[in-house]
Symmetry: C2
């Protein structure tokens, strides 16, 4: 159960079929494999061997897929970094996982010097772009591919570490989720089965590839021998143009991307005529948007995925047949669907025992896609991975027909435009401002992002601070999407629970009054 | 990656949906799970614990599925026995694997005393039928289910042994193929993905369930939460009646079964209206029969599976879209299709290196479905499992589009009506007849069975022996399907190779002249 096996099988079976389309680049599976095997040889020569962490900070592109398979072929584990992170967040992750090699896309060259200066475990930074690279510890991607000596597959698989995926944490410090080959392999197989992918699949990488939602399609497309199509980042016109030009039939989008595509002046259903499967997820889907999408693209089968990095990520899926708009089954549309093939879901009561059907409790899941644990975080691992189950931190219930309804989050977290923002992390950043006495961060409704980050600040006595001050302070410290979009100020203390915790439910209530969508 | 996980997940998710339909029996997933868990408790009480071999000699039925999952739940490994074997073959297998418990169907009660007397590792024989059982070492199935105390899942999985599947051997002695949970789990996942099975799948168990071809549907249906429908053994009218009565949409048949169904006076396409997927395999499909089937049932998607017990069994699959009757792609219809999702296939040249595309060589395969080896046969294991690849013993080539064409068998084996008959085993039986000086067994063309077993005997000088003598001698020793259907006699010695081996190709030639189908 190794991730290089489907890759090599497909390249052997379909050497002349197209594997990757990236702008003007079109490569066959033979060419794709040859590049990967040479890049793997170069990585070995750079010291990437069994278990070595190889990080990737890049927009979408054929290079991304090549880096993944070359790292696995060389025997290493990939660390896909969030492209919206600040340099200090990137440096933290690189240091945490002791990455040796970093692949860096042109878009992030402005961060190069800060990363070089601070990430002291790195031995090599490989620049992906045409900008090239010179200097100690720098290498140019195409040089490595051109000069690398093909090496033998390291044959890592099963429980060997395949990837470290950083996710926010309730403590405010991102944690590295350790996923072995077995977990990524299972998720690829499950998504291929659920979506009915086959060698005719043409997948558009429009959502960010570092995120597990789209990441899984790298391995799933290798499993079925389909074709990858890339756009560097989501843009409604670029997505529509790629679908039209390359006969894209499969993709994943987060709801805000789908909304932007449908609202785009250049949108016409005919431009999506080749599309057959659209997986959406990673944040709540407003029902109105879903109805609009189903109406505008009746030729597309919609799938909703609900998951979690810790599950690699599949937990449940709402199949096309359950996208019912009218009648008694229409309530399913507001659910997250049924457990993914091979995944087991339970709703746990307060004592951790299975709750009776229909009762709200914490959603727990187990499957072969489950993580090994958090990198160097045994305590956090023990808190989430209990008796072979992942505690998702989401509250929900299972209805009589088995559909899982997510009703709330038990974690103090905001989902905004498909990204998880842990409130503690934003609160940590804001609290370092000298004028801030106390702060609480909550999610408030946003038409565009589902939820938006909002900070409530109690200034220190006598201090003067504005919304702009707080936001600027955050921008220097954390990723843009984590920064508050708005700040309100109050003089009175926060409402506290008996245990002295801020009662965020009370802080959120005035913003959400009259809205029933909340988090789902 | 344990086989009980999808089972319990489905029973949790769909407790009220129908799991099994067997004659008048209809059981929900809740009822199915409850019976399995109680039967598992009873098996534990009978001593079936980690790794214990639990054998099953039974026709198709809900009991068969229950026995499998109960054995896994208890922690044991299943040994499904060939229902066409003679008592002595069964006793040999039971002894070889040191089975402790045997489930025995009413149809095999005539063998009960011989098995009891000879299979000395058995501690309990559980009779499945209503005939009941009394006496030391006997137990009645329904009593165990009724009285068993539910036990906790033994949580075996991954590389733990899940099943031993006996297959003939070139040495003439059946070998037990050891398949771990990982292998059976992968094969279930692969077949669900390839066939597009989902919770609406209603599977007819018409082909024998002990054979891996149909066996895999037990786990695949549990994975997707579909419904099992059983008929005790294949019969064209029973199969058509079950399809009609229960809305069967998925099944596997061997070509002879398909031929019998189409030739049956009661066949009408409308009776198969609910059928959506028909997997066929286990023996060569005459092209005329396939064309007839495609014409008679245009609403059915046909899949050809090519596999091997050692691969658990999936190797390649010919998808519905590749069932092309006209044009340049029509040659695909004579191929075995493309490597199954997650499976790697190579054609090996004489030195064991990959042969160039288009060249005939030995077909080798590797996938997560691969066996651990042969039970207690390290030498035979080393001969077949080489560097992580299974040598199939079949000769073939891969065409430019990746399709695998099986052209010959390198093993001295006959495939008759979906069963593998190893010539050495039949030759061993015949050679014990006092009048036989030398014998060679070959496959000759048969309209009904694909190939038929034929023996060529050189009588001892002065001895008189007839075809009937030889067949009767075999019937007392080996399964009916292994016995020769015809015998010819010759006086001159067999043609020999330089190494002194009988040149069977020369013996076969006169029978196959003018036929190009041969083995495929």
């Amino acid at each position: 159960m190794r991730l290089t096996q489907p890759f090599v099988s497909v390249a052997d079976t379909f050497p002349a079929r197209i594997a990757c389309i990236d702008g003007p680049i079109r490569r066959t599976w033979r060419e794709h494999r040859d590049r990967v095997v040479r890049l793997a040889g170069a990585l070995r020569a750079l010291g990437a061997r069994h278990g070595a962490r190889v990080a990737i900070l890049a927009r979408n592109g054929a290079c991304f897929t090549e880096c993944l398979f070359a790292t696995w072929w060389a025997g290493g584990a990939v660390v896909p970094l969030n492209t919206r992170w600040s340099a200090s967040e990137i440096v933290h992750a690189l240091g945490d996982c002791e990455a040796r090699i970093l692949f860096l896309d042109d878009a992030f060259l402005p961060m190069l010097e800060e990363i070089r200066a601070c990430a002291d475990t790195l031995t090599t930074i490989v620049t992906l772009g045409s900008a090239g690279a010179a200097g100690a510890g720098l290498a140019a991607y195409e040089d490595l591919v051109a000069q690398g000596h093909p090496c033998a597959d390291a044959m890592r698989g099963g429980e060997d570490l395949a990837g470290l995926f950083y996710t926010g944490g309730t403590t405010g410090i991102p944690k590295g989720v350790m996923l072995p080959h077995r977990a990524l392999w299972y998720n690829a197989m499950a998504i291929a089965a659920e979506l009915g992918l086959d060698r005719e699949a043409v997948w558009l990488h429009a959502a960010p590839m570092f995120h597990l939602a789209d990441f899984t399609s790298n391995t799933a497309i290798a499993l079925v021998g389909g074709c990858h199509v890339y756009i560097p980042a989501f843009d409604p016109e670029a997505a529509l143009a790629a679908i039209e030009a390359h006969g894209v039939n499969s993709t994943i989008l987060v709801p805000t991307m789908l909304a932007r595509m449908l609202d785009h002046p250049g949108f016409a259903p005919a431009r999506t005529a080749s599309l057959r499967r659209l997986l959406y997820g990673a944040s709540p889907m407003p029902e109105g948007l879903l109805r609009k999408a189903l109406g505008a693209m009746p030729h597309v089968r919609f799938f909703q995925g609900y998951g979690q990095t810790e599950m690699g990520p599949g937990v449940t899926i709402l199949a096309p047949g359950d996208h019912v708009l009218e009648g008694p089954s229409a309530a399913r549309l507001r659910s997250a669907g049924l457990p993914t093939i091979g995944c087991e879901v339970r709703i746990l009561g307060p004592a951790g025992d299975p709750a009776p059907r229909g009762t709200i409790g914490e959603i727990a899941a187990t499957s072969p896609g489950m993580m090994l644990g958090y990198w160097n975080q045994p305590e956090q691992t023990r808190a989430v991975l209990v008796d072979g189950w992942v505690r998702t931190g989401d509250a929900g219930y299972q209805d009589e027909d088995g559909f899982v309804h997510v009703v709330d989050r038990l974690k103090d977290m905001i989902v905004t435009g498909g990204e998880n923002v842990f409130c503690a992390e934003v609160e940590n950043a804001i609290s370092t401002h000298p004028a801030v006495g106390a702060v609480a961060v909550i999610g408030i409704p946003s038409r565009q992002w589902g939820e938006a980050v909002h900070a409530i600040v109690i200034p220190r006595p006598g201090a003067a601070v504005t919304q702009e001050d707080i936001i600027a302070h955050c921008r220097a410290r954390i990723a843009g999407y984590k920064c508050p979009r708005s700040v309100s100020f109050r003089a009175e203390p926060f409402p506290l629970s008996g245990a002295g915790k801020v009662l965020k439910r009370e802080l959120r209530a005035p913003f959400w009054q009259g809205l029933d969508c909340g988090v789902a």
